[in-house]
């Protein structure tokens, strides 16, 4: 939100032409007026309009260059008649005028073609490219006419001007990994699953995982929502990966692995962030060693997310795909501070991606770790998954600690109480059901609506179906034990009291409503914190107030040069897709850092951040050109009796027919944004 010379962005109309600069009005939007630390933007042009930050912009050339970008970004275009020829005609005609050879009828042709593109193009890119061009032609008509009448080139036609463009879409913008969603959906629609998969893997190596257990923030930014319901974006991702696995193909990598360049990187942690860093660095020709504390690869998705949601066979395919890029893995190796010091000499850079594996306390009375039956969610899920997925049994000592009589988690006859509200707690209660618990409670401070918002409707609904009892507006007040063995819990009830001043409603304890429930286990799954003992204290690596590693969220280098951090240990407990997105960006920064020892972002990454700030998705936009009410497809889910006591994958995924119907709903909302810097 800053002063602009001229703007038609998103329907606003700011015209400061002939107005002194100090009186310029401000735009209502986060337009990228500052391109980066050393460059100001002179203009921004995109799907929704044009903004000028400087009086001296050659608008004719700006329009022409924008049309040229449409030719450049052809991977998203050239797929329909209006776009392919129309786009070229726009460019040719604008260039003709800009170089001083135009005639008045060219303006008519431009408008005519522009209009046809707007109504008939296949993708939004073809529909929207004419928008700012027509805006410019309308509001700067005199400049065009002058060039035409005098047959002279436009203001800066022969000067060196730098333009930086990027293609985006609302869904890709909202995806923390910026997956090229329209491309992988197009692959499904065209029945070219290899193309679909490779589109995903450009920025997301874990196609099986994020086709199954992603909370899909993209779907909240799906433009189709403005018309009827969002596209089932996540479920369509799985198609390509399943196809590759089913047909036994070698891995389809979207890039050619570069020859080894002599540089080495250490990655600590083989979870989503570690795997992602390794994949993209290895592709760049870097020798990558990944150190993993556990005996198995995959991090929390392997030992945290249960088999019925994320079959390990499928996850292992994603991991193999990373291995196939030539990554070296070292398991059963817990990296300590001495190792870190050593790595600084042995490697050109280090990535810390150790996640958050310490379960936080619930903060109730008598909350003591030595009470048997008090069992951290992360450890609980480790024990369940290491057995169910890999066959690792539980030692006698650990059995005793957790009141078990078998070498795997068998909760027959036991009452389990989980405190949480996020994905981890859902995994805990549903695993407890599968471990045959007599009764499973979920204690949550807030209401049903919020738990759905924090997880997914499906996840909550399926847990209820399987018999989990949710106690909303509740919190554990006290653990009651006998001889250090948990017996029961005192539960407080809360209610939401609206703020009379219109502020945020507050949870207030309902006096006299507290009650006691019998419990054999209390499993805190409120949140997790990072174990960062591996960071040498003398490095004094800067931390956030959440006790995670601090970076600027753009290049992911820590305060220690050459040490990077991504995933949950940087952000705090968050999603897989967030970890992948961070790690993908970090890998890109590291791939340059190891050569130059400098931190840099590519133009594409700078634009990515600008657009994220501006926000690509506009939930108020009216959709035209699509038929409303074509229903969203839902994939089949195992019946509750077929899934409750086993680890069969609950969600069966789309059938081909469902997938194609769903893919046809995608409106391919590609846009081009361009900055004149």
């Amino acid at each position: 939100m800053g002063k602009v010379y001229f703007s038609t962005w998103n329907g606003e109309f700011i015209n400061n032409i002939n107005v002194p600069e100090e009186e310029w009005k401000e735009s209502a939007y986060n337009l990228p007026a500052q391109y980066d630390s050393h460059r100001e933007s002179k203009a921004f042009i995109g799907w929704d309009g044009v903004a000028l930050f400087d009086k001296d912009v050659d608008v004719i050339r700006l329009a022409m260059e924008y049309a040229a970008q449409y030719q450049e970004y052809s991977e998203a275009c050239g797929r329909c008649a209006p776009g392919r020829w129309g786009g070229r005609i726009l460019y040719d005609q604008l260039d003709k005028i800009a170089r001083g050879e135009g005639c008045v009828s060219d303006l008519e042709h431009l408008k005519e073609i522009g209009k046809s593109m707007q109504v008939t193009s296949k993708c939004e890119i073809g529909k929207t490219v004419p928008n700012p061009i027509i805006d410019i032609m309308t509001h700067f008509e005199s400049e065009f006419l002058e060039c035409i009448e005098k047959q002279k080139p436009s203001r800066h036609y022969h000067n060196d001007v730098s333009y930086i463009a990027k293609i985006t879409s609302p869904c890709s913008d909202a995806c923390p990994s910026h997956v090229d969603i329209p491309a992988y959906i197009e692959g499904v629609r065209d029945l070219r699953m290899d193309d679909s998969l490779m589109a995903t893997r450009q920025t997301m190596p874990l196609a099986h995982v994020c086709g199954r257990v992603c909370p899909h923030p993209c779907e909240d930014a799906c433009r189709r929502t403005n018309l009827d319901e969002p596209i089932s974006i996540m479920a369509l991702k799985r198609l390509g990966a399943d196809w590759e696995t089913d047909h036994g193909y070698d891995f389809f990598h979207p890039m050619q692995k570069k020859p080894l360049n002599g540089k080495r990187v250490a990655v600590i942690g083989a979870g989503p962030a570690g795997l992602t860093t390794a994949y993209y660095l290895a592709a760049e020709g870097v020798a990558v060693d990944v150190y993993e504390e556990l005996p198995v690869l995959g991090g929390e998705v392997a030992v945290g997310v249960p088999e019925y949601r994320m079959p390990i066979g499928k996850y292992n395919k994603d991991i193999e795909c990373v291995k196939d890029m030539g990554v070296n893995f070292i398991v059963n190796y817990k990296v300590n501070a001495d190792d870190m010091r050593r790595f600084e000499n042995e490697y050109d850079a280090t990535m810390v991606a150790t996640g958050t594996r310490i379960s936080k306390k619930v903060y109730c009375q008598n909350e003591r770790a030595d009470i048997k039956g008090y069992w951290g969610a992360i450890d609980f899920l480790d024990k369940v998954n290491l057995y169910e997925k890999y066959g690792y049994t539980i030692s006698k000592e650990e059995q005793e600690k957790n009141l078990l009589t078998t070498d795997f988690v068998d909760l027959t006859g036991k009452t389990v109480v989980c405190v949480g509200g996020g994905f981890t707690s859902m995994d805990v209660v549903r695993c407890a059901i599968r471990a045959n618990a007599k009764k499973v409670y979920m204690i949550y401070r807030r209401d049903e609506k919020t738990i759905i918002k924090n997880t997914t409707y499906e996840e909550y609904h399926e847990a209820v179906e399987e018999g989990v009892e949710f106690l909303f507006h509740s919190a554990v007040a006290e653990m009651r034990d006998e001889d250090n063995i948990l017996k029961s819990l005192l539960i407080d009830k809360f209610e939401l009291v609206p703020d009379p001043n219109g502020g945020r409603a507050e949870l207030v304890k309902v006096e006299g409503a507290s009650y006691v429930i019998e419990a054999d286990y209390l499993i805190p799954a409120v949140s997790q914190s990072a174990d960062l003992k591996l960071l040498p204290p003398e490095w004094e690596i800067e931390m956030t107030s959440w006790a995670t590693i601090k970076t600027n969220g753009k290049d992911y280098m820590t305060s220690r040069k050459g040490v990077f951090a991504s995933g949950d240990c940087e952000y705090g407990p968050m999603t897989i897709v967030n970890a992948v997105g961070q790690a993908k960006r970090a890998a890109s920064v590291m791939s340059r850092f190891i050569h130059t020892k400098e931190i840099s972002l590519t133009d594409d990454e700078i634009m990515e951040d600008h657009l994220r700030k501006l926000r690509v998705y506009n939930k108020k936009e009216k959709i035209t050109g699509w038929l409303k009410g074509v229903p969203r497809q839902h994939s089949q889910v195992l019946e509750v009796e077929d899934r409750k006591y086993n680890n069969k994958e609950v969600n069966l995924g789309f059938t081909q027919e469902e997938a194609m119907s769903e893919a046809e709903r995608c409106m391919r909302c590609y846009y081009i944004a361009m900055v004149q810097a």
């Binding site: 052809s74 209006p82 776009g83 020829w85 129309g86 070229r88 008939t120």
Partner: protein, 749 residues
């Protein structure tokens, strides 16, 4: 029954099923919406944008080809605004399109030409810089990018119907073009389907190019004579020169709904151009008088088969045709369990399946029609495809979801294991159940080399299957244990949701197997060969003792894999004698061969329909109106499963008789355009085992036969089985295709 969606198009009340789009419903109801890129048999390309329509309550235009209707919506297909945009699209298509219609192969049948006229685009309204786009020569196919309108039809059929996935769009906006996928040159099976679907002159047959104008050619609807798929095609003929003989210039097909392989499309000039020879005819009559038997091939019409049967009775001689005899025996065993004469599946059924099991066939080259049906099922229904064979086939990798690699010769074991798996929960009779209970599964798993886990994996992948097809190939029909194999397949068909398709080898194996009473071939003296070996040879391919017309010179019918009785017609004249002339010489009097069409055996399912009453076309929505489907006939079901035989062992260098793509038999071998790949192909491992290397001339001995071939090491093959072509050999076609062989390098010869 799914709920129907009710809506209107141009005020007409119509309804749609789930899966139908506005465009498909409009077409069904005879309402015209113009398109340039739509093709019924693939997913919508959605590139031309011509099919936009208006929808009530919605601003802007909606694409009709990929939008399903919603309840109550009112669709308008024609308005001034729509026409304006469609006209603009046509103007764009015409920008810089070379004005060379006069020398373009497509002229006269070009969609761009037609639509340009329809929308009255008389001049180029917009300009864009032209670009240099040189012609690409891809063997049998030429690609002219400057004529290409980037509709993407070719890419869609290649991937979704054929399965080659050999071409793709190279994205580049205005510069977009079609390129071979993952290779510099086109590496595909050269079906030519891309040529067929190309709406303009961009993809053309390099052989046909510049040889005739579309409007000069006469179209003769016929049935492809190369394999049992019996694909519909049209021979296009014209005089070859001034006063010259009639010639087939090319073959075309109704690509909107059906497909052709390259042999069908490019292998059309197998006619017999011999002149009338009275002496030879007299000799033939004489030979038949003295004959003890007629040996014949299945590459004949039903009517010829019928006449042979009449001759057999008249002359009291035997008929030999091992191919058809074994097929008949197989189906006989099948009937003894199923209680009916014909299997239930079809190509259309395969296309609709979501699970397919193929056993005992190198199906992609044995019967491309089946391959295309499986590709369609795989792509459009996500079908799980289990491919059971001792050899992988790289052409099938695209669609196969599970390879079951069994040991050569153990087909009976494979079928038993499969039946045991599929029939686990079936309500079998006590005897049938006892058969399975008594099996020594351990032995079978070990001998076939198919583990228990492979079958459980298969069942897991079939969890959501609604419609399945079991496809049985030649290796099962020619197998020593074919009878039991047939019975097991009948059992599977009877008790599960599997349909059954048994792939007949030749174009009319099925027809012959129903019409003729055949006896086991024996080396008898005085055998007359009818398109087969004999002491006196009557041949449609030429070079025999008497010439007869080839299958593109005859009218008559075939029975294809779908059990459909298909008419074929005379594309080229034949000036000599026919089998009917011979029959007449023996007092079997019918003026025309096709007079026998209505006489074909009723108890085999044929109908009393005369040839001229048989239709030969696909309807506007793709309905198959060709000929008729054989009636099913009830049979006695008194068969019993047989005790299993010991599994044979095939060690050492084994060869598998399998033709390369585009070749089937002596007729395809005779044609001029089809490549004649006659290498013995084997893996690196085979080369080591046989002590030969790539490029060696080798002597291959199997059974009583010795041939010479050049060995080609093929990176796509594995194991110690080599592929030996048979299209150029005069072999008994019904033999079991795996043979132990002796391979020697030929030195200094």
């Amino acid at each position: 029954m799914e709920k129907m969606i009710h809506f209107t198009i141009d005020g007409v009340a119509v309804e749609a099923q789930k899966g139908e789009t506005i465009l498909t419903v409009a077409r069904k109801n005879g309402i015209y919406i113009p398109t340039m890129c739509y093709i019924s048999k693939t997913s919508p390309c959605a590139s031309c944008r011509m099919c936009v329509v208006e929808a009530s309550g919605m601003d802007g235009f909606v694409l009709s080809c990929n939008t399903p209707p919603v309840e109550g919506v009112e669709i308008t297909t024609s308005s001034e605004a729509l026409n304006h945009e469609r006209t603009n699209i046509m103007r764009l298509y015409d920008v810089n399109h070379p004005l060379e219609c006069g020398v373009c192969d497509k002229s006269g049948e070009c969609d761009l030409q037609n639509k340009t006229l329809e929308f009255n685009v008389a001049r180029q309204n917009f300009s864009a810089k032209d670009q240099l786009r040189p012609l690409k020569k891809w063997g049998l196919i030429d690609y002219e990018p400057s004529l290409c309108i980037m509709c993407e039809k070719c890419v869609h059929v290649c991937n979704e119907v054929i399965g080659d996935d050999a071409i793709e769009v190279q994205f580049g906006g205005y510069k977009s073009t079609i390129i071979p996928k993952g290779s510099d040159v086109l590496d595909c099976t050269f079906c030519g389907e891309c040529i067929a679907v190309c709406p303009v002159g961009a993809l053309t047959s390099s052989n046909f190019k510049y040889s005739a104008n579309a409007w000069e050619l006469t179209r003769i609807p016929a049935t492809c004579a190369h394999c049992s798929a019996g694909c519909p095609l049209e021979y296009e003929t014209r005089h070859g020169s001034i006063n010259g003989d009639k010639k087939i210039y090319r073959v075309k097909n109704n690509f909107e709904f059906s497909s052709l392989c390259g042999a069908g499309r490019f292998g059309f000039d197998f006619e017999n151009s011999a002149k009338k020879d009275d002496k030879a005819f007299t000799n033939a009559i004489e030979a038949l008088k003295n004959a003890k038997a007629i040996r014949f091939s299945s590459m004949i019409t039903n009517e010829e088969a019928h006449i042979l049967e009449l001759l057999k009775e008249k002359l009291n001689i035997k008929l030999f045709n091992e191919d058809a005899r074994k097929f008949a025996a197989f189906m006989g065993s099948y009937s003894s369990i199923s209680g009916k004469k014909h299997y239930s599946g079809s190509l259309e059924g395969i296309k609709k399946s979501d699970a397919v099991i193929v056993i005992g066939s190198r199906i992609a080259t044995d019967n491309p029609g089946v391959r295309y049906a499986i590709t369609t099922a795989s792509k459009h229904n996500g079908a799980k495809v289990v491919y059971a064979h001792p050899l992988e086939d790289v052409l099938m990798q695209n669609v196969v979801t599970q390879m079951m690699k069994y040991e050569v010769g153990t087909e009976e074991g494979v079928m038993v294991l499969l039946a045991d798996t599929l029939l686990k929960n079936a309500e079998l009779t006590q005897d049938e159940r006892a058969f399975f209970d008594d099996l020594d599964l351990g032995y079978l798993h070990a001998e076939t080399n198919l583990g228990d886990e492979e079958f459980s994996h298969m069942m897991k992948s079939f969890a959501r299957v609604k419609k399945a097809t079991l496809v049985l190939g030649e290796d099962l029909i020619s197998h020593k244990r074919s009878s039991n194999i047939a019975k097991l397949s009948a059992l599977i068909e009877k008790y599960t949701n599997f349909s059954l398709v048994v792939v007949p080898r030749d174009v009319n194996t099925l027809g012959v197997s129903l019409i003729n009473s055949l006896e086991r071939d024996e080396e008898t003296l005085n055998t007359v060969g009818y398109n087969a070996k004999g002491d006196f040879v009557i041949s449609s391919i030429g070079g025999g003792d008497l010439d007869i017309p080839s299958l593109n010179q005859q009218e008559g019918t075939f029975v294809n894999i779908d059990r459909r009785v298909l008419p074929t017609n005379v594309a080229l004249p034949f000036h000599g004698y026919t089998l009917n002339d011979i029959a007449k010489a023996f007092g079997i009097n019918e003026s025309e061969t096709v007079n026998y069409t209505k006489e074909l055996k009723k108890d085999a399912g044929f109908r009393a329909v005369s040839f001229d009453d048989l239709e030969n076309y696909l309807g506007t929505l793709g309905e198959d109106n060709r000929g008729y489907i054989l009636e099913d006939v009830a049979c006695k079901s008194d068969g019993e499963l047989e005790e299993l035989d010991d599994m044979p062992e095939f060690n050492g260098t084994v060869i598998y008789h399998a033709n390369p793509v585009l070749q089937f038999n002596a007729y395809t071998n005779k044609t001029t355009q089809l490549p004649k790949d006659d290498y013995l192909r084997g893996s690196a491992q085979f080369a080591i085992a046989a002590k030969i290397s790539d490029g060696d001339l080798v002597r291959v001995s199997f059974g009583q036969t010795t041939i010479k071939r050049v060995f080609k090491q093929d990176a796509d093959l594995k194991g110690t089985i080599a592929l030996n072509p048979v299209y150029d050999l005069d072999l008994d076609s019904s033999r079991y295709r795996f043979e132990k062989s002796k391979i020697e390098r030929v030195i200094n010869e």
